[in-house]
């Protein structure tokens, strides 16, 4: 039997209201504020012709997109390491470690990310980076190393700022990953822990051979979701002038005054990035569900 879609009253009302709103916005844009659309100016900010070899390379917006991806990847890697350690602290037998873990998570989760970024960024970039002498180290390496560093991280003159931003975002995301790791380990049945005790395994052997291999399957899907969340939170580092996508959008808007085209393009770029990653995460979840069933 062919299912004929039923048109209800709500359908009609919604379609009328949406058409009305879109029509009103269109009217206000063209007649109210006389906005001159100029979409042809946008592609030159996505791609440009490289003078050296005549091919197409990325310009402002795509460079910002790649910086966002690099920042999110490095921040998530660092945050996973820090979050796993803090997750183990949270479920440790020692009250001292549990208190430390709880303090870290509650402090990071209850302050706004913008305030945390201002505090940590100034602290990490001013104090720690100059203490470690990272800038001088990068400047003294060879041409080849510098091009590898540019591909993996950022051009040498932005390297210190990029690393500081990555560490800052990592510290903030680690609090959420701590909870994911804790929930994953605590979801393993108590019988597994009791069997490890009965066999006389130490804590390290218990985690390495029994608990973590099972917990990792439960941790990976939320972790991937947290990676997508990191991509969105990385937009906040634009306030400290890290040249990622949102910052490039602000620069573009300031340079060309094409506010509408600029922000619509930025929104579409973020949507493409996160929606494609969400689809990949859904595939990952289905794969894990099939392998455990």
């Amino acid at each position: 039997m062919i299912k004929v879609p039923k048109i209800t009253l709500l359908d009609v009302v919604i379609m009328l209201v949406v058409t009305g709103i879109l029509g009103y916005i269109g009217y206000r844009i063209t007649v109210g504020i006389h906005y001159k659309w100029n979409w042809s100016a946008i592609p030159q900010y996505l791609f440009r012709i490289d003078k050296n070899n005549g091919g197409w390379t990325a310009n402002l917006l795509l460079q910002g997109l790649f910086t966002t991806i690099r920042l999110s990847v490095w921040a998530t890697l660092l945050a996973t390491i820090l979050g796993t350690v803090a997750g183990f602290f949270r479920i440790s037998k020692s009250l001292f470690k549990r208190l430390l873990g709880r303090t870290f998570v509650e402090l990071m989760r209850n302050t706004p990310p913008l305030v945390l970024i201002f505090i940590f960024y100034f602290f990490v970039s001013d104090q720690i980076m100059s203490f470690l002498g990272v800038d001088d180290f990068i400047r003294n390496t060879s041409e080849r190393t510098q091009s590898v560093i540019t591909f993996l991280f950022a051009p040498p003159r932005f390297f210190s700022a990029f690393i500081s931003a990555a560490i800052t975002v990592a510290i903030f995301e680690a609090a959420y990953i701590t909870e994911i790791v804790r929930a994953g380990i605590q979801s393993i049945e108590k019988g597994q822990f009791e069997a490890c005790n009965a066999l006389g395994l130490s804590w390290r052997q218990q985690m390495q051979y029994v608990i973590l291999p099972q917990a990792i399957q439960r941790i990976l899907p939320p972790l991937a979701g947290q990676f997508i969340s990191t991509i969105k939170d990385s937009a906040i580092v634009s306030v400290i002038s890290i040249p990622e996508l949102c910052f490039q959008g602000m620069e573009l808007m300031a340079a060309t005054y094409l506010t509408f085209e600029c922000w619509i393009t930025i929104t579409v770029l973020y949507l493409t990035l996160t929606l494609s990653l969400s689809l990949a995460v859904e595939r990952l979840e289905i794969f894990f569900r099939r392998s455990t069933a």
Binding site: R28, L95, F122, F123, N197, A235, W263
Partner: protein
Amino acid sequence: MSIYQCPSPNASTNTCDVLKYLIVMLAVLWLISVGTERLGYNWQWYRVPRYIFTFEDGHLAAGPLILGLMVTLQISGISLLLSFAIGLTAALFRLSDSHAARFLARCYLEIIRNTPLMVQLFFIYFVLGPVLGIERFFSAVLALSLFEGAYTSEIFRSGIVSIQKGQWEAAYSLGLGRFDTYRYIIMPQAIRRILPPLTNQGISLIKDSALVSIIAVYDLTMQGQVIIAETFLTFELWFTIAAIYLAVTMTLSVLVNFLENHLSVQV
């Protein structure tokens, strides 16, 4: 190391652990203050209180930071109510029979949940603001409400879906229409279940409201940036602002815990 060698936790090991923890916290604070002083930062805590409160004509007046906190609480309060309204509507649309309603709600959710709040704030302030004539404060409120509304709608939807089918069937057999079923049967039960997550949205909103400083709304974060630009009391002020946010969110957390314990539903 077998379990027979581990002492079981008792009062004295607990006290030891708490003391160790306090020592570590004090060591971290000491490291921060000594480390920054060695690299040239001059701590001037005595200059901070005048930005919290001042004495004018013999009575207490609020300083810029407290005025900013008032604006933050205002924005968060209005956005919370608006986000409940938007969230409830979106949840009902997603559960309705109408294809257009489900499609609209789905589009709204996917767009809002997959773009950063900063981009949405800029979009509404720079694009929709001039078009619809919305001024700064209300652009911020609108952006925050739309953003939190998406997450609130998922909370509402999960609460409604968690009501057993038997309730719907009983309402149908009693002849109640869809609206009356929601109003008298489903929503009272659903709201009781989702009240803790909904109040968590309030905490989330206070944190996300810090972002409205990027469109120069004079909330707590913006006031802090303005004072720091004048006085360069960077670390003192950012720690003070973080402490104020922590105080507000921890108070709300205590409220959420209280609600969870006293309104817990035996399913």
